[in-house]
């Protein structure tokens, strides 16, 4: 009887959907518990940071880190998890590529400070109070908060990562796949995949999506999702609805397109490209608004056409902005 392995779950800047993904193992949780003990998981178990820090290096078999790295706390524990765990998995889109929290790279700390604590419609803050890394109350008690970084980072920007599990959150099927791999490793000694593997398909979502596609995709006109009803059988792009399928990994079961909603790319890009945004940009620009009079179109007409694509940055990098080539929005000299 193989010895049980140990598992730890730690979150960074996360929505905790990835912890819920594990709770949603449902009855398969028992299968997991037969082969593994969960030794650290703040959402579920009363083990505190001190206990984690005291665990010997490499004493935890597998660590799942979900969430992006956006403050000193997130990073500190990324390092601690790396130390204590033999295998570290970047679990979920945020740890993999920054995820939705990564969109904060479109703005700056200053803008956010001002907005949240002073400028929202319901904020009442005449003194301009802001949260502080170190503060003292009226009696002199000292209180600390983690330092917030200027940039949102993915897990492998700060530590060495063994495996990546994409999607937001990883689907039950993906989880069962991982459970199968872990079980085979524990009970049969089967080897784990090569280090650095993204545990998902190398094909794009279009391969998995069941919708009908024309011979060649041609997007005559772009509609925003609230502007028309969707044909549940036809490819979204063919219908003029922006869908990130061509730039996104398969492996999630194409659940969104099954629910009659276009893909927004949470699985991230395949290994064939270096980033998701450029991949989608290329694909879309190549098929959008193609006409017979391509040769007569002026630069202005083309610019106007492309200006119909609202928010390419926020759309094509919805889940992957920190891992894009440029990584964040900047402030440039006025020309």
């Amino acid at each position: 009887m193989a010895e049980k392995i140990t598992i730890a779950l730690k979150r960074g800047a996360s929505c905790v959907g990835c912890d819920i993904a594990i709770v949603n193992f449902n009855e398969e949780l028992f299968t997991l518990l037969e082969i593994a003990d969960i030794v650290f998981a703040p959402t579920l178990i009363d083990v505190k940071y001190d206990a984690l820090r005291k665990m010997p290096d490499k004493s935890i078999t597998i660590g799942f880190y979900h969430g992006a790295v956006r403050n000193s706390d997130n990073e500190e524990f990324a390092h601690i998890m790396r130390q204590k765990c033999q295998i570290l998995i970047a679990y979920g889109a945020c740890a993999h590529m920054g995820g939705i929290p990564g969109l904060a790279n479109v703005t700056t700390k200053q803008a956010i400070l001002n907005k949240v604590y002073k400028e929202t419609f319901s904020a009442v803050n005449p003194e301009g109070t802001l949260p502080q890394e170190i503060s003292k109350d009226e009696v002199g008690h000292e209180l600390t908060l983690p330092k917030f970084y200027d940039h949102v980072l993915a897990l492998d920007d700060v530590v060495d990562v063994d495996y990546f599990v994409p999607a937001c959150p990883p689907t039950p099927d993906m989880n069962m796949q991982i459970l199968g791999v872990v079980k085979a490793f524990v009970t049969e000694g089967k080897p784990l995949p090569p280090k650095g593997t993204v545990i998902a398909s190398e094909k794009t979502l279009c391969d998995e999506c069941k919708r009908e596609r024309g011979e060649k995709v041609a997007v005559d006109r772009l509609y925003r999702v609230h502007e028309k009803e969707f044909d549940p059988e036809k490819c979204f792009l063919d219908q003029g609805i922006l869908c990130l399928g061509p730039a996104t990994r398969a492996g999630c079961g194409a659940v969104c397109t099954e629910t009659n909603m276009p893909c927004r790319g949470c699985m991230g890009p395949t290994a064939a490209v270096t980033e998701q945004g450029a991949s989608m940009l290329s694909a879309l620009a190549s098929v959008y608004g193609l006409t017979d009079r391509e040769s007569e179109m002026s630069e202005e007409e083309i610019d106007k056409l492309m200006s119909n694509i609202l928010d390419p940055l926020g759309c094509f990098y919805r889940f992957s902005l920190p891992k894009s080539q440029l990584g964040r929005v900047v402030s440039d000299t006025k020309g």
């Binding site: 940039h151 980072l153 290329s282 190549s286 040769s295 390419p312 929005v329 440039d332 020309g335």
Partner: protein
């Protein structure tokens, strides 16, 4: 602006038109700023937006793509694709906050040595005036934050 700033500029030239035009400019001994490097591709359509983003990430202060005039592409329709992609890329680069003068698409034929010189000199001048790309610092900024935290974590062990 300090006169010692030399911009890093990358120019993608298509083999059949732009690169030939660049050669002609050279052979004609036209005066051209030296502050650029050329990457030759067979067609301007080979220039993936990824390359341009990567160039800025690596510290380019300005990037240009030069290709055949629409209708004259050696591969018939390659540059039609190019201009669409670059048009959308321009929108996105603006969203990233880059000044619009740091990226430019232009058509230069094999016979247009003069135009090549003009276009390049104009671009170098504009980019020099803008100064270093804000993306030059980003990599270092990120590392500064994270290294500090690593030292802290190590010290706390």
């Amino acid at each position: 602006m300090s006169e010692s700033f030399t911009p890093k500029i990358l120019i993608f030239c298509c083999n059949w038109c732009a690169y030939a035009g660049a050669d002609l400019a050279g052979v004609s001994r036209l005066k051209i700023s030296p502050h650029f490097r050329v990457i030759r591709t067979l067609c301007s359509a080979r220039v993936d937006p990824e390359f341009i983003l990567h160039a800025f990430k690596q510290g380019a202060d300005g990037v240009m793509v030069l290709g055949c005039h629409p209708g004259d592409c050696h591969y018939i329709g390659g540059n039609y694709r190019t201009r669409r992609r670059m048009a959308l890329l321009k929108v996105m680069l603006l969203q990233f906050g880059l000044n619009k003068d740091r990226f430019h698409l232009e058509w230069v034929s094999a016979a247009e040595g003069e135009k090549f010189a003009q276009v390049v000199n104009g671009f170098v001048e504009r980019v020099t005036r803008l100064g270093p790309s804000p993306f030059r610092e980003i990599k270092e900024e990120k590392q500064r934050e994270t290294i500090a935290a690593a030292a802290q974590a190590a010290a706390a062990q």
